[in-house]
Symmetry: D4
Subunit: 251 residues, 8 copies
């Protein structure tokens, strides 16, 4: 795991280039970077294993750019979710290092390239309209240091398509299953494997889909078979949990 | 179709054993038999193709027995749904001709044995707790003059079980798919066939199944593929609609 | 039914113009046409009896046009639903063969003109604002090879208007009943006939109509009389199910 | 209207048998009779035109009996709603003057027999299970001094039955329409007449009827045509409002 | 009541200027005027006592103008609800006879000036944001031939304001009470009078007012005291029902 | 405030009768008394100002009795809410010091009699069925050391009754307003005073009261005028908050 | 407290500069200032302790400006909530005395600077998106004459941040806790203090947060520990109640 | 992992004691044991890693006993959830090997004692009423071959109690957090660790807890921080998923 800053401080201390008081202060200052419009929690990587993530929707591009810049300066990975292309354009001027994933609507910069996972994280989705959420899950897991693969458009209405991917599905360590409408995909998947399945309901659908409620309820009622659920459209949350589950023992 | 009473009246008229006025009156009297506690609609078989059906829950056994007796006297099939074993015991004393289907909680007597259907009606169900509702659908379709088969316990969590029945499923003319929890069965079935599928959500489940609401919403969101839905636990309605769909042209 | 492509392949094989391996490959390739932005399921017509249908809302006109073009090239009927006039204008440049139904907001091209139905499909609607949904149901049933008639503006608040159409209603093989507000139309219709009625709740109304929920609940509570229900505003699903029900035996 | 007690007090004053102070006190004492377990509002008949009504459910029979006894002692009509037969048995010992209406589950005593209404109040209901609520509405209107008629079992699924009563329906001054399930009856009725219709949803039904919610929403969506709605199962409220509407001008 | 057209036809017949067949045809033609985009129900005034009302929202100004023109040509009152000022501007060119009520967003033309009511209809409202709905109720009752008065801004949070109007409230024959938020006004009003109160919940409020649902539920729970309820924001329905209740006996 | 135990320990230490280690241990043991079936939080009085309260519903009488006994042994006040008379009978054998308030369904023992409040806490309720909840609020506030008064049966449907208590209402420091049905009482009260009002919705009512939801929503929509709300039927919570608000400064 | 106008009138009377009739009239005229578009309640400060507050959303800037001007002319504090910067710009031309708080979206003018509170009112919030609501609460309490402090960005997901403020939290007399998402902050805060906590759910969040409903329900379920709740996003209501609770005894 | 039966068959084959056909048949027969009332899925352990689990509620004790007996005969672990003590008493006669966990309401028999997990599974719960659900989760994880520890009664209202267990919480590999009411526990826990947290809402609570809905929504809104959710009261599902996550790599 990437926590170079802390190590740097400690090594400087050991090497005698700073004294205990200076190290103490450096470490104490770490957790929060007080910015004009936000407290940037630089200690989150140490405490929770991953840096703070920026939810882009409704935030000013200037502020996002500044946060991204600071994170990179402290050598922490950057993940900005729910970011529109037009906002990215502004941000990328200050942060040319950022990479934009259009379908997932995320901007990313990866601090290090280590593989932190025990196995493959597979993100499957039911319909083409579920792609942005599935993409967000995949990008999140990837930036967290995992090998990720995506299979799209394998809804339960076409079993032959789904079954054609059976081996690939079984090869994964964790599976994220994204679906709108009635949300049956995670249950069908969980019947094929003996691995944890994280279900993400999406707000895709109309009429009695009630903006994802039908899918959410459907998924909650599949919980008996190793399926757990995150909030509607919360691709990030699913990718994050998948990464926690897939993580190698560091000790 | 069984409408012997009307034919009897008309033949008596033709044969001269009654005059036009008497026939008129007999026919006019037909529609309703005024009983102390109910109006028995004897004309329903003529108008809607099937006799009146008795919803047993909350009705006094004596009243049910009298209605059943009158229906049989007029040579019309008898179907009593939601009937407890203890109520049946009382009723069967006055109506020994009735047959009780324990799992479906229905009492039946079939006026005639003609096959009125174009093909097979298949009733599939997801779990063992869906059996009463599936049974009600099957009994209803059967009493309405159809060949009916039931396949139970083929939920979508165990695809191999479901796929093992693929040929049987494809051989049906109409399919009734009964499921609680997240109600994914009808959608998966509809992907395998080119026949109408009637979905019945059941109130089986706990927590966020909300007494069948999760299954109902799930099924409504599967409507694009030839699935239509009836009310929660309404096995009778599904069997009835399946019978209407399956009916041969009489003209 | 139209499955000329498969027959062509098989006949080429029989005629010796291709060998078994080539036929095998051609058939295997059939099910999915991999396009840049979608998998076009060309095998759906074979498996489910009708070609893949395109839900137009939110899709790029260019992509829709390409899919429509491919479907026609494989001699499969084209149905694009929820299509705005402005999107159609763009699409029709690449696909001049498409016909636009303004009220129903559908674009269509019909591969063949056979009558596949056993009888008439009647689409009735309660108010003028229900017309787009009723139109979608009618167009869908028609493109699937059925004789279809529409009667509009016969809500239950004006019984005389509804009863004036009694004979026409009774002449249909399947009835699709479209209504918003309290959704009472299907139940009243089902009391007049002995044919299956498919109810479509619409999101028409205000206040406690809750975007179609009141109509949906009303219709689900009418299920006892041969009524089955599809999702709110799902005219396509109703027309599709009506077509499946009305279909002649091919064997 | 029956307000003899007040007149008695005033006449005693005029006749000189009591003085102004005593009259004042008697009148002031009127409004509330402080009982051990309740404040009996004897002034309600003066202020709102009808005496206080007793909601029987969950009250001790002894307390109900005492209230009924006091009301009759003050020459005010007695109406106890939601009263079980077993509770009535206890109450009738102390109050032998009370009359029990079994289906409506009400006990009544009528202070005077004047006809206070402008015309007929008609209570129509859709199914046999709606009878208790319809009965409560009818008894309430009757005890308030109105001519009342009930027509039962005329749901919208059997239009011919409903239309057979068209003249009777048109002869009423106010109509109370009681229905469960999808609650379409009031709207159909309101299309036949130019009189106010009060709709009462009942908790009859199962599955997605949600204990009367479906009927309530259906009725609220019929409001455009002269229909107003009361709470689920609130037969009393409907009868009460119907009586207010039907009342002759006293001035 | 205004039904001059029918009388004209009948008098022409009596006077010999048309024969029975012509009269027959004229009368038969009456009920519906087939327009390109709608069926105009001219017989509604005869059957239900008031002409057809036009719900303006979402209709093309041209169509509304034509309907209004036809209604006036047949000497029937015109009421167009939910009409924006900009739509009115277009309509008033073809229909200069129409009068626009800005707050109520209604356009009206009154066929005759008779007073059809037994007494005063009072429309009270709780807050200034309830004014459009209250206005719609008042205009509707007025155009239907009633004396109408409005009192605004007397919510229950300021009892002294409400009580200051006590005499005016008691002088009305029917009261329409309009309120958003928690909807307590109708119940408080009904405690002051012995006349029918029609409650109109409005969608005013935020957070847990849920677009009028809180007010609707509050009002339904006040039904015991002579209050009946119409749909959220349905000022028209309340005014219409108030007019029916207030109507003088014509026979 | 009653925190004698801690003081005892500290004084014993000061007096030399125990040493620091013993005091330490005594104080550490204080917060939780490990019982077989529960951790009794004896430190809550110190931390939050009042001892732990026992929610009686569903707990075994033996366990409750033991907890009550321990609390009293540590000289802390005892409050057991939602306690049935039959459970109290068992408990009172082991805890004869407990006093049972029947209507409020609470058992209490008060450790000290000091008046901790700045003024009067007034508990008002709308109907007789709201009494148990109002009682729970009153008992809670009283056991917490406040002067409490209750006024019952002053619903908003009878304004004259409510206004008769205007002075009493204005004399209170904090008001708890308890109401079911549409929950308008708190708003009306808050319009009369300049003191905080705590609203308690009750589950009293039927039909669309939805077990208190209508009252809850109504109250939340009254928040602008100094009203705050607690959970449905949560008399205890309201009394507790009222006590916190009313508390004298100790510093 | 600021009620100079009344005192002025009374002192003029005492001084003989006006007579009793003129004083009478002046006082009577006080309560409402009839403006063209509103009744300005100038007596509210006298009756409820604070002047009328203007809810800015959806009101015309001209009208708001006029009301603000009148309030200041009568020497009453001005608080306008939910005011956009663009509306403020217009208003400030007529009312240059107003001060705009951008984050809270409020405009204010304070009539007097007395400290009316017993202690500190603390407003804490969970996330940066909760700031507008927290700001509204703080501004409201401040304009009502209280010392107010705000602590932002201390959600329960980062306990160490929250606990770092423990002493500050414990020093407050009343706490307003603002949170969206799952709304856990108030419960955690209430476990740390023995002071009243007012919880404000915000509509921040997505998916199953249902625009604040999840937070609202969460907060209502924390009521046992001295927490009371106001409507979603109702910062004003929370600040207002906090001010009422914090107020010094004037008598 | 325990799959001895399959190995036995294969070894017999290898050893020549059975021939290929017999082995084939034995393996084919494996998946389902057709019992009179159920299909026992003996192949589930092979496919999904754990044997079939028996949901005890509503099943006949005789049937449960037979299933348990068969599972043990095939050397597969037995887990029966939602089992009442009285049902266990009957079952234990036929299955004396079963062990009953009273609080968790589960009966268990463990086929083997291997430790299949990578680390500790910790089950934490908020209140004493959450114990049955927490117990079910713990028993499930244990029978699946994991080391499990339970910490109870650490709700977020008492942070000091929760923080006292910080080290224990951090030592776990997977955490199951069980809570009713507002369900804040999982979010607070997830802020302390970098491990996956599975949240289980319970139906504990009253009023606006809506049988666990408030807790469910609260938990879904905490998903951003590595929390995933299962259905209300679904302790089994949480334990099962925790076991899948904790499982050692076998390959």
């Amino acid at each position: 795991m990437n926590s170079r800053i802390i190590y740097d401080i400690l090594e400087k201390l050991k090497a005698g280039s700073i004294d205990v008081d200076a190290a103490m202060k450096a470490l104490k200052n770490l957790p929060f970077l007080e910015m004009e419009y936000a407290k940037l929690d630089l200690g989150r990587q140490l405490r929770n294993g991953f840096p703070e993530v920026v939810y882009g929707e409704g935030k000013a591009p200037d502020h996002i750019a500044e946060i991204a810049f600071q994170l990179k300066s402290h050598d922490q990975s950057v993940l900005i979710t729910r970011l529109s292309p037009s906002a990215f354009e502004i941000i990328s001027k200050r942060c040319p290092f950022l990479d934009y994933r259009e379908i997932a609507r995320c901007a990313v910069w990866k601090a290090a390239d280590e593989d932190l996972g025990r196995g493959l994280i597979l993100v499957v989705s039911a319909g083409t309209s579920d792609l942005p959420v599935a993409g967000e899950a995949a990008v999140t897991a990837e930036i967290m240091g995992n090998r990720v693969r995506q299979i799209n458009d394998i809804g339960v209405a076409g079993l032959h398509r789904l079954l054609a991917h059976r081996d690939e599905i079984r090869s994964a360590e964790v599976i994220v299953a994204v679906a709108g409408m009635e949300g049956a995909l995670p249950r069908v998947i969980s019947g094929l494997v003996d691995k944890p399945v994280i279900a993400v309901p999406t707000s895709v659908g109309y009429g009695a889909s009630f903006k994802g409620l039908a899918a959410l309820l459907g998924m909650l009622n599949s919980c008996a078979s190793g399926v757990t659920v995150v909030n509607i459209d919360n691709g990030f949350g699913a990718g994050y949990s998948a990464a926690l589950i897939n993580r190698k023992h560091t000790s």
